[in-house]
Symmetry: C2
DNA sequence: CGACGAGGTTACCGCGCGGTAACCTCGTCG
DNA sequence: CGACGAGGTTACCGCGCGGTAACCTCGTCG
């Protein structure tokens, strides 16, 4: 039934299959049996490549975290103005999320927060993002702590907006990543300063 | 060992104990055995009050969602200006989160997102919040969709900021809820319009 | 053509899970 | 003082879990 694969290819396939399972059912809700079955092999093959379920999930998590961070930071780096960097970063974020929904759900919904070791990996990713953004904020007389807080808020906007976006547009991505990024960048940039008393 | 309790009190106690377990270990990671043990009774007592583990979690989830929504909307309603409502809402949110950390983690970290039924309860809560906020946004020529998106962004800021806040201040709440709310309200209100090119 | 090693499978282990049937205890009230 | 019902426990069920020991298969290379 299943063809034999060289070790490195099998390992890559198992990581990809595991990502999908973990995204759908979470860490605790996914069994090694089902991952193996989905990959078309038996369980001991899984244990030849990964020492334990925890180790497998940890690798999946670190993998997607790195991929997302790399894409965003590269995109942000291509812009020349702070506002362009914010917009470019959001655009890269949403584009990545659209192409890799499973990666997003594993990072932010698969129960990673419940485990100290896994939470640390996600935290590392968020901290990287926030630090980059904090460096863009140059408001007169703002304390570093306050700047960091604002940066975390921006990261939060991207995360929660992505969740709503993926939820509402099950197949077709209704607002395009670019359009969504433009709207959200405006929010992050300008806030609600347009609000007036009714 | 354990005293006998009238049904209504026992039920209330079981909900409280279950909240703590679910907050710490998630839905899938919590067993009915452990909840019963933590409550000082045996498992069949749990099943006298709740038909299944899913039913118990659903009740816990709906309970905390209602409590949080009620507090925030009441606090926001007491303010007289839009900006005051935003600030008051954030303050109520953070104050609630500080007093009920477990409630926060059950809503946003216990794996509720992985199950369609549970996700719907959390979504309902977020939608209530967002709708209230959207009504405060009266920017000239802004489409309803865009307004909703901005409102979701605000809700996201509160959620993610809370997570970081609880994480960094394990016991003492370093910035007070009031101070944190003031800072975050400023972000939501004014955004990053102070950013200048370096 | 045969040895050997990489890539696999079969078949099992003990455990804790969600859930339930049957039974016990003890305060209350005629 | 005895019946009864609310509030509880004991003891079990089948199942799927994470993980492993032992064995098989087949292309490659001397």
């Amino acid at each position: 039934m299943s063809t034999r694969l060289p070790a490195s290819q099998r390992r890559r396939q198992l990581l990809d299959v595991a990502l999908i399972s973990f995204a759908r059912d979470g860490f605790q809700g996914t069994s090694m049996n089902r991952i193996a079955e989905a990959a078309g092999v038996t369980k001991p093959v899984l244990y030849q490549h990964f020492a334990s379920k925890r180790a497998l999930f940890g690798e999946v998590l670190a993998d997607v975290g790195e991929r997302l961070a790399t894409e965003i930071l590269e995109a942000a780096g291509r812009a020349t103005t702070p506002r362009g960097q914010v917009a470019g970063g959001f655009e890269a974020y949403f584009a990545f999320v659209a192409r890799n929904r499973d990666a997003f759900f594993v990072l932010f919904g698969a129960g990673s927060a419940l485990d100290a070791e896994f939470a640390a990996i996600v935290r590392r990713f968020e901290a990287d993002m926030a630090e980059t953004i904090a460096d863009l904020i140059v408001i007169e007389g703002l304390s570093p702590d306050h700047r960091r807080l604002l940066a975390q808020g921006i990261v939060g906007i991207a995360e929660v907006t992505s969740r709503h976006w993926l939820r509402s547009t099950d197949d077709s991505l209704d607002p395009s990543p670019e359009a969504l990024a433009a709207q959200v960048a405006t929010l992050a940039w300008s806030g609600l300063r347009g609000i007036e008393a009714p």
